[in-house]
Every structure is written in structure tokens, then in C-alpha cells.
Symmetry: C2
Subunit: 132 residues, 2 copies
DNA sequence: CTTGACCCTGTAGTTGCTACAGGGAGCATA
DNA sequence: TATGCTCCCTGTAGCAACTACAGGGTCAAG
């Protein structure tokens, strides 16, 4: 049994974040001490670790919730899990492609700037409509 | 002169977003008709286009605000503009690198899943702590 | 004169936290 | 016992950048 602060240190999570996860139903309300302090067992530690690792991999809290409930139910097969992971991966791919396109646009813009007065800065021009 | 709806269509911006930009001081309060409708001139159209293009390129509203005030002032030279653009570019590069690392982790995880019962799904295992 | 498309203000919701404010608990030290 | 100090409690509000109502008013067409 450990306090919320100890759990936070063990999982690299702020205390407020842990309470937030409890509030939104991602973590079960833990037992309390006589002084009304939360105490966490190893299962809670494992669960929070799972959540944090999933978050680090970019899954949304809703996706994490889904993954948790699938493991809780011990569902027959892992098709849904795979589905969630693959969907997320596709989203990451899209983001990468978007950002690479963006980088290209930005670098073209930046390279065109020769310094000097702002009224002839190519960056500003590139951002402005009705170029002339 | 055009209505807020027309301006929205011309710049691919939702009406609520335009009002939001006004509220936070990014767009000046426009003139009003007798019936209290906002009306926008070409300058407002140009300004909103600039904002939208900057946003599409991923600049934050604070950065957009800075870019706008620099052009408004007709500042001597464009050093600050270039600085903002380069900072943003560096941020994009960081995001790309992060996402590529993420994609690698995710794809390793996903490929390891052979289908079957969730209790032996490698995705879940990869997310769980204390692997054994 | 009614219908429908548009506009108005003001407020609250979204995501995933983070930061107080204003108190209580628990332990060590003087 | 008193005084700190660190931790914990609840509840609320803030961040970015919108988005979505609710409950009305305006205006042109038919
Ligand atoms: Zn995702
Ligand atoms: Zn320049
Ligand atoms: Zn940026
Ligand atoms: Zn699997």
C-alpha cells in the first residue's frame, strides 16, 4: 500500500493527474486511510502504469478506456485490441504525412527570405493573400 | 462589404470562429448594419485570410498575433518574422521525429500480435508493466 | 404574413491535464 | 506541547483553439 504521492513517483504521474483519472472513471476509487488519504495497492500501480504507457504511445483516454475494459473482460480474442492499435497507427501516419508537407512549405518560405524590410519579406508575402 | 457568413465562406472559416477571433482581439470589431449585423470590408478579408493561412501552417494564435502586429507596424526588418518561422519549423521537426519514433514502437507492437485470446495478446503485454 | 435562412449574445462543452485556494493529517523537532 | 514541514484533501478554474447550443432578432422571398 502506497500513498498517492508515492504512486505518482512510481509512475511518473502528477498527483493531480491521478485524481483526475479517478474522477473520470479510469482508475477505481482506492481505499482510504483513517485520515482520508488514498492508498493504492499493486494492482492500481499496474493499472496506472498501463495507462501511462498507452498515453506515451499516443492513445487517447477513450482508447485507453477501451483497452482496459477489453483486458478486464478477458475477451475471447484480441481483434478489437488490434483494431484500436491499427487505427491509432493510421492516425499517426496521417499526422506524419501532414507534418512533412508542412515542413516542406515552411522551409520553402523561410529560405526565400533574404532579410531586409518587412514590407518585402517573402515570409509575410507567402502568408498574405492576393499576392502581386 | 460582406456578412460574417460570406466572409466565412470566402475563407473557409466557421462563423463562430470569426466571432471568436474578434473576441480575443485578433480581428478588429467590424462595422455593423442597422440591424446589428457585422459587415466586413476587403481589409478584413485579407486579414482573416492571413490568419487562416498561418493557422494552416501550424502557427499558434500567439504567433499569428505577433506576425500581424509586426506587419501592422511595418517594422524595419524582418528578423523577428524569420525568428518566429524558424522556431515554428524547429517545433515541427521535433514533432515529426517524435511521431516517427512512435510509429516504430507501434508497428513493432502491432506486428507481434498473432491474433487469439486476449490473455496472450502481445499488444496488451507490450502495454503492461512487469513483463515476464 | 409567414417561412426560412441568416444573424445576434452568452454560455458551456471538448481533450488532457495543471494550478491554485483553503483547509486537514501526520511526523519530527525544540 | 507547540511549531514547523511535508504531504494530503476537496473544489474550482485555467490552458488552446475552437465548436455547439439556447433563445432570441433581422431580412428577403413568396
Ligand atoms: Zn490516436
Ligand atoms: Zn523576411
Ligand atoms: Zn509552432
Ligand atoms: Zn493481439
Amino acid at each position: 500500500m502506497r500513498s498517492i504521492g508515492a504512486l505518482g513517483k512510481a509512475t511518473n504521474t502528477k498527483v493531480e493527474t491521478i485524481r483526475y483519472y479517478e474522477r473520470i472513471g479510469l482508475l477505481a476509487p482506492p481505499q482510504r486511510t483513517d485520515g482520508n488519504y488514498r492508498t493504492y495497492d499493486d494492482e492500481a500501480l499496474a493499472r496506472l502504469s498501463f495507462i501511462r504507457r498507452s498515453r506515451d504511445l499516443g492513445f487517447s483516454l477513450d482508447q485507453v478506456r477501451a483497452l482496459l475494459s477489453l483486458t478486464d473482460q478477458g475477451t475471447q480474442d484480441c481483434k478489437t485490441v488490434d483494431r484500436i492499435a491499427r487505427d491509432h497507427m493510421a492516425e499517426i501516419e496521417r499526422k506524419i504525412a501532414d507534418l512533412i508537407a508542412l515542413r516542406h512549405e515552411l522551409s520553402t518560405m523561410i529560405e526565400s527570405c533574404g532579410g531586409g524590410n518587412i514590407s518585402e519579406c517573402r515570409i509575410i508575402e507567402a502568408l498574405s493573400p492576393f499576392d502581386n
